[in-house]
C-alpha cells in the first residue's frame, strides 16, 4: 500500500475492482448476452472485449431499454447496445478513491474498467462498490462528523434506491437533505419543456413559508441559466445580498420574499426518453435540487456540494429508471390490452366455430335421418373405388353395416363376379359421366332383387381447364382440361316390384289381346255381314241400330289395337325395320290411303313433296301420316283442303330435336278450328284430345297422337304442332335423312 495525499490507498486487485467482470465479444447476440446476465444476477453491466481490450460497455439498463424497444432484440448483437469509447483507469497510476468517484460522477458513468500498461482488462470498478469503500475509509480516517456525514450520505443513497417510485424518491431526497444539511428549505424545482417550472417537492422548516406549487416568474430563471445548468453547473450562493453572488435585483427581491439568505443549486439532468429513440448521450435539464438557508448567510462546504450533486445524480438515475419503468409498464399495458383483445377474439371465434359445428352436426344428423330412412342404397365412393359413406339401408338389405363397409373397395364388398359386371359403369362414373343401369342384387337371405343403379360423379368445382395458348403446352392443357372427379354418389333402388308389375301388365295385355279380340272379332264380323243386307232386310230402326252397333264396334277395335300398339312400342318390343325410302312416295301412299275418307268429308288433299331419301320404317311412317291426315280431315269443315308437304330441314330450329344431322320435315296442315295454345303441349300425351266430346264425335281413341310421337321418337325425330285458333293447325314431324343424303 502506498500513501496518497488524502491517505487513501487501494489495490485494484484485492479491494476495489471486480477482477472477473462479465465480458463478451461485441458480436455476441443479445439472446446470449441476456442468458449471461441472468446467470450473473450480481453483474450490473457487461463489457465488450476484443483481445483483452475493452471496446465498449452495456449496463443492465441499456440492455433493458433495447429489449423494450426492439421486437427482434434476440437477433441483435452486443455491438448495437454498447457505449463506446469506454473510459478506463490504469492500474499502474496511483488514484485516490475520491478522485475515482469524481471521475465517475464527472462523466456520469457508473463503471470504470481497470487496465494494465498494455490496456488489457484487469478488472472493473463499480460506483456502488467504490462508495461502500469510501464509506469504510471515512469510517477509518475521517473526523467523527465527516464519518457521520459520509455514513448518512450512504444511508440516503440506499434509502433512495429502495424505492422505484419517483414521488417517494424525491420526497426522501428533500427530507433527508434538509435534515442532513440542517437547511431551512429544500425543494425540487421541476422545469417544463416550455421553460417554466414549479416546486414539486419540498421540505421546509417552521416558520418559513412553503413555496410548493408556486410558479416562478420566467425572469427568475432565464433560458441562458437553464443552458448552464444543463451542462452541469453547480451554484453555491453564500449570501444572496453579496454583490459577488451576481444575482439580479429582481431575483434578490424574489429571494427576500422567500426569506432566503443563502442557497445551493445543483442541476438534475436526465437521459432522453428511451421511447423517443434518442441516444443515451443527449441529456436534458429535468429540474433543480435547491437548498435554502433562511436564518442567516451560509458558506456551503465541499461535502455539502458533493452531497447535493450526488443526490441529484441519484434522482437523475431514478428518473431514467422511472421513465423506463413507466415505458415498460405502458408496453405491458398495451400488450395486455392486445392480448385481452386477441383472447376475446379467440373466444368469439371458438364460440362461432362451436355454433357452426353444432349446426353441421344437426344438419348431418338430419341428413342421416333422411338417408337412413329412404328405401334406397346411398353411398359415396372415392376415386380409388372405396366406399366413404353408406347409409343404414345397406345393413337392412345386404346385412352389412356402414361401419364394416366404410373404407373397403367396391370389388371386395360386391364380390368379384358382380364387380366385373358393373366395372365399366364404375369406370365411366369416375371419368365424370352420369351412369344409370339395371342389375340384379342378392339381398341378405339369398333372394335376388332387380335394382336400378345411378352413379352421379362428384366433380371438383374448381377444376376448370387452364387456358393455355402455347402450342408447346397443348398436351398439358388437354390433360388439365379433364374434369377432376373426386368420386361418385351411388344410388341403388329396388325395382323388383316395378319389374313384377310390368310383367303382370304384359301378361294382362297378352291375355286381353286374345280374350278381348276373339269375341270382338265375332261381333265385328257378324255386324259387318248383317250390315251388308245380304242376310235379310231389316226395318229402318233396326238398320239404324245395326249401324250404331257397327260404328262403335269399329271404334272398340281401333281402341284395343291402339292400346296394344302403344304397349308394344312402350315395352321396346317393336323394332323398326328401317331402310332408305323416298319421302314423296311415302306422302303419296299416305294420301292415297286417306283418299276415301277425304272424299267422304269433301276435303281436298293437296300434296307438295320434295323427293328425299329418309332412313325409316315405311309402314310406321305411313301410319303416322295417315293418323295426322285423318285428324286433319276430321277437324276440317267440308269444302276445305288439307295440305301435305315434305322438305329438307336443319334441326336447330326444332323445339325438341336431339339430333344435329339433316332431316326431312313432314307437315300436315288443315284450316279447321285450330288448337288453343295451352293444349298444344299436351296433345301428344295419352287421352289428351281437345276435349272428351271430340273423341266421341270424331271417332278417335285418344291414343293416335301418342302413338305418332312414339313412332317418330323411335326414328330419332321429333313431332310438334303449331296452331292459331280459327286459322287451323300444322302438325310437323322430322325423320333423319338416309346416310347417303345426310
Amino acid at each position: 500500500m502506498q500513501s496518497t495525499p488524502d491517505g487513501c490507498k487501494f489495490s485494484f486487485e484485492k479491494d476495489l475492482a471486480n477482477t472477473q467482470p462479465l465480458t463478451a465479444s461485441s458480436q455476441t447476440r443479445l439472446a446470449k448476452v441476456m442468458e449471461l446476465m441472468a446467470a450473473n444476477p450480481e453483474a450490473s453491466c457487461i463489457l465488450a472485449v476484443y483481445r483483452q481490450k475493452v471496446i465498449g460497455i452495456a449496463t443492465r439498463s441499456d440492455l433493458m431499454r433495447v429489449i423494450a424497444a426492439q421486437a427482434d432484440w434476440p437477433k441483435l448483437r452486443l455491438s448495437k447496445v454498447i457505449t463506446r469509447p469506454v473510459m478506463t483507469v490504469s492500474a499502474t497510476e496511483p488514484k485516490t478513491l475520491t478522485s475515482l468517484l469524481q471521475q465517475l460522477e464527472q462523466h456520469r458513468i457508473s463503471h470504470l474498467p481497470v487496465v494494465d500498461g498494455q490496456g488489457n482488462l484487469l478488472g472493473l470498478i463499480e460506483q456502488n462498490r467504490l462508495m461502500q469503500k469510501l464509506l469504510h475509509q471515512h469510517q477509518q480516517y475521517r473526523s467523527p462528523l465527516q464519518h457521520q456525514r459520509t455514513q448518512q450520505l450512504a444511508e440516503i443513497t440506499l434509502k433512495i434506491r429502495q424505492s422505484l417510485h419517483l414521488k417517494d424518491i424525491l420526497q426522501t431526497t428533500v427530507d433527508e437533505v434538509k435534515r442532513l444539511l440542517d437547511a431551512d428549505r429544500v425543494l425540487i424545482y421541476q422545469i417544463f419543456p416550455d421553460g417554466t417550472g414549479k416546486t414539486t417537492r419540498e421540505a421546509v422548516a417552521s416558520p418559513y413559508a412553503s413555496i410548493l406549487d408556486i410558479a416562478f416568474p420566467e425572469e427568475v430563471f432565464p433560458e441562458d441559466y437553464q443552458a448552464l445548468y444543463a451542462k452541469g453547473r453547480v451554484r453555491p450562493v453564500a449570501d444572496v445580498h453579496q454583490l459577488e453572488s451576481g444575482l439580479s435585483d429582481c431575483l434578490v427581491e424574489f429571494m427576500d420574499e422567500l426569506q432566503v439568505q443563502s442557497k445551493l443549486i445543483v442541476p438534475i439532468v436526465q437521459p432522453m426518453n428511451p421511447s423517443v429513440g434518442e441516444t443515451s448521450l443527449s441529456k436534458q435539464l429535468w429540474g433543480l435540487l435547491i437548498a435554502h438557508h433562511c436564518r442567516n448567510p451560509r458558506q456551503w462546504s465541499d461535502f455539502e456540494l458533493d452531497l447535493m450533486q450526488h443526490l441529484a445524480g441519484q434522482i437523475s438515475l431514478a428518473l431514467s429508471q422511472g421513465q423506463l419503468l413507466e415505458y415498460l409498464e405502458d408496453r405491458v399495458e398495451l400488450r395486455t390490452a392486445e392480448l385481452t383483445e386477441s383472447n376475446l377474439a379467440l373466444q368469439r371465434e371458438i364460440k362461432e366455430r362451436q355454433l357452426v359445428e353444432a349446426a353441421l352436426r344437426q344438419s348431418e344428423a338430419q341428413l342421416r335421418l333422411i338417408t337412413n330412412n329412404l328405401p334406397v342404397l346411398i353411398a359415396y365412393v372415392d376415386s380409388n373405388q372405396c366406399y366413404q359413406f353408406n347409409n343404414q339401408v345397406y345393413e337392412h338389405w345386404l346385412g352389412e353395416s356402414p361401419q364394416t363397409i366404410s373404407g373397403k373397395s367396391m370389388k371386395r364388398v360386391m364380390g368379384k363376379a358382380h364387380y366385373e359386371k358393373v366395372k365399366d359403369h364404375i369406370v365411366a362414373a369416375l371419368a365424370g359421366e352420369a351412369v344409370s343401369y339395371e342389375s340384379e342384387l342378392t339381398f341378405q337371405g339369398g333372394r335376388s332383387h332387380s335394382v336400378s343403379v345411378t352413379y352421379i360423379p362428384h366433380i371438383e368445382p374448381h377444376s376448370r381447364p387452364h387456358k393455355e395458348v402455347s402450342k408447346k403446352n397443348n398436351r398439358n392443357s388437354k390433360r388439365k382440361s379433364k374434369p377432376q372427379v373426386k368420386g361418385f354418389f351411388a344410388l341403388t333402388t329396388d325395382i323388383s316390384d316395378r319389374i313384377a308389375i310390368e310383367r303382370m301388365k304384359d301378361e294382362f295385355i297378352a291375355v286381353v289381346s286374345h280374350e278381348l279380340r276373339t269375341p270382338l272379332t265375332s261381333i265385328h264380323t257378324s255386324l259387318k255381314l248383317l250390315a251388308t243386307g245380304r242376310l235379310g232386310e231389316l226395318s229402318d230402326d233396326g238398320q239404324q241400330m245395326l249401324e250404331v252397333a257397327d260404328e262403335n264396334t269399329d271404334r272398340l277395335v281401333r281402341l284395343v289395337n291402339n292400346v296394344l300398339d302403344l304397349q308394344r312400342i312402350d315395352s321396346g318390343e317393336v323394332t323398326m325395320d328401317t331402310y332408305a325410302c323416298d319421302t314423296a312416295k311415302l306422302l303419296d301412299q299416305a294420301a292415297e290411303a286417306m283418299q276415301t275418307l277425304a272424299q267422304q268429308h269433301k276435303i281436298d288433299l293437296q300434296t307438295q313433296a320434295v323427293s328425299l331419301s329418309v332412313w325409316v320404317d315405311p309402314d310406321y311412317i305411313i301410319r303416322v301420316l295417315t293418323n295426322l291426315i285423318g285428324n286433319a280431315i276430321k277437324f276440317s269443315s267440308s269444302g276445305h283442303s288439307v295440305r301435305l308437304t315434305v322438305e329438307p330441314y336443319l334441326p336447330h330450329a326444332a323445339p325438341s330435336s336431339k339430333s344435329n344431322s339433316k332431316q326431312a320435315l313432314f307437315c300436315v296442315q288443315d284450316y279447321g278450328q285450330g288448337i288453343p295454345s295451352h293444349k298444344l303441349a299436351v296433345i301428344f300425351e295419352r287421352f289428351k284430345q281437345l276435349d272428351s266430346s271430340d273423341s266421341r264425335e270424331k271417332g278417335g281413341t285418344g291414343l293416335g297422337l301418342t302413338i305418332c310421337r312414339k313412332i317418330v321418337e323411335q326414328h330419332g325425330g321429333s313431332i310438334w304442332a303449331e296452331s292459331h285458333p280459327g286459322q287451323g293447325s300444322r302438325f310437323y314431324f322430322t325423320v333423319p335423312l338416309s346416310r347417303a343424303q345426310a
Partner: protein, 126 residues
C-alpha cells in the same frame, strides 16, 4: 275361279260361324269347321280342303302342334295353312312365319275382305 273348300280349326264356335258366312258371302267358298286340333287333322285328312285356317290359341293341342301334325301327315302336308291369331307380338309372328305357314291373319280381321286376304296369302286370284 272354282269354289274353294276351306277348313277352319278354332275352338270358338262364333268364329267358325262368322268365318263360314263371311267366306260364303264374299267368295262363295264352302267352309267346314273343327273345334279342336285333333278333329281338324282328321277332317283335313278325310276331306283334303284347299286351305286350312288354323287358330293358334286352343285348349289341348294348340295351333302350332296341330300344324306340326298336319305337316307330318303326307296326306295333309301339302295343304296351305293360314294361321289365325290374336297375338300381336312381332317375335311371335316371326316365329310363325318361320314354321313355313302360308301366312298369318290377325284377329280381328276385316270381315268383308277375309277371302281376298286368304287368296293373297296362298297366291290365288279371285
Amino acid at each position: 275361279m272354282p269354289s274353294k273348300r276351306v277348313l277352319i280349326i278354332d275352338d270358338e264356335v262364333s268364329i267358325q260361324k262368322v268365318v263360314t258366312i263371311s267366306l260364303k258371302m264374299e267368295a262363295d267358298w264352302s267352309v267346314m269347321a273343327a273345334s279342336s286340333g285333333k278333329e281338324g287333322v282328321q277332317l283335313a285328312e278325310s276331306h283334303r280342303p284347299d286351305v286350312i285356317l288354323l287358330d293358334v290359341m286352343m285348349p289341348g293341342i294348340d295351333g302350332i302342334a296341330t300344324y306340326e301334325a298336319l305337316q307330318e301327315n303326307p296326306v295333309t302336308q301339302s295343304i296351305p295353312v293360314v294361321l289365325l291369331t290374336a297375338k300381336t307380338r312381332t317375335a311371335e309372328k316371326q316365329l310363325f312365319q318361320k314354321l313355313g305357314v302360308a301366312g298369318v291373319i290377325t284377329k280381328p280381321f276385316p270381315p268383308l275382305a277375309l277371302a281376298s286376304e286368304i287368296a293373297k296369302l296362298v297366291h290365288w286370284s279371285l
